[in-house]
């Protein structure tokens, strides 16, 4: 699907080592952050910290993270609608109440934004003569 949309327009390119290294770093640091958070929540009471209070902070931290990522994307790639999407998804990250609805809303927002990006790409990048 990706190739059907991109190949005849932009051609084929395989990302280099720098890109792969960056992806590996992002995945590794995400896994590390999740494992660290899980261990911290699990064993916080052992050292006398109240893990319930940490859980209360999680929605705020998740919201801020979403917002920061969206601001980065909108500034780095000039996609101003990400400011709006980021704001919408960072308003509330409820852990218990209506999590499914929130996640569905976030998913739809990202899909719509991605759809707009693909549509703009297809509309503005013509097929090359030798690809027709």
């Amino acid at each position: 699907m990706y190739e059907r949309i991109t190949y005849p327009r932009s051609g084929y390119v395989a990302p280099g080592g720098t890109m792969r290294r960056l992806c590996i770093w992002i995945v590794a640091s995400t896994i590390l952050a999740v494992v660290t958070a899980e261990l911290a929540f699990r064993y916080a009471s052992v050292v006398g910290w109240d893990s319930d209070r940490w859980v209360q902070w999680t929605p705020a931290v998740a919201g801020l993270t979403n917002w920061a990522v969206s601001v980065f994307v909108s500034v780095r790639y000039g996609l101003l609608r990400y400011l709006l999407v980021g704001f919408a998804v960072s308003i509330e990250c409820p852990l218990r109440l209506a999590t499914e609805i929130w996640l569905a809303g976030v998913g739809c927002a990202w899909l719509c934004s991605g759809g707009v990006t693909v549509w703009n790409f297809v509309r503005t990048t013509p097929l090359f003569a030798d690809a027709k």
Binding site: P8, G11, Y12, V13, A14, G16, F128, D130
Partner: protein, 110 residues
């Protein structure tokens, strides 16, 4: 001739030509790319791009593989080890010429 001017004269001419520099700089950042991608990125004509790629291949800087994607012919290009080293050397040389302190480098002309 000052050492800085000599450095300019010794720049790798195969890479120094703007069209070939565009190709080499793109290939330096990616693993491989096809002819269509280069046409899109460099906005060179087919013939022009083809001749520049041939010159880079002749110098041993670029490896060209002709293959098929489904029924569409595809020309995939990648930088060889020699090409990568030469581009790195070219970049360092250019950096040295342009950005190192210029005191006395062009001789006492004033």
């Amino acid at each position: 001739m000052s050492s800085r001017l000599r450095q300019i004269a010794q720049l790798d001419r195969v890479i120094h030509e703007p069209a070939r520099l565009m190709i080499a700089a793109t290939l330096y950042l990616v693993k491989e790319a096809d002819f269509l991608y280069f046409r899109h990125q460099t906005e060179l004509t087919k013939g022009n791009l083809s001749s520049h790629l041939a010159k880079l291949e002749e110098a041993g800087y670029v490896e060209i593989e002709k293959t098929y994607r489904g029924k569409i012919p595809m020309t995939v290009c990648r930088l060889t080890k020699k090409g990568r080293a030469s581009f790195k050397a070219y970049e360092a040389a250019l950096r040295g010429v342009l950005f190192e302190p210029a005191i006395g480098a062009f001789g006492a002309s004033r």
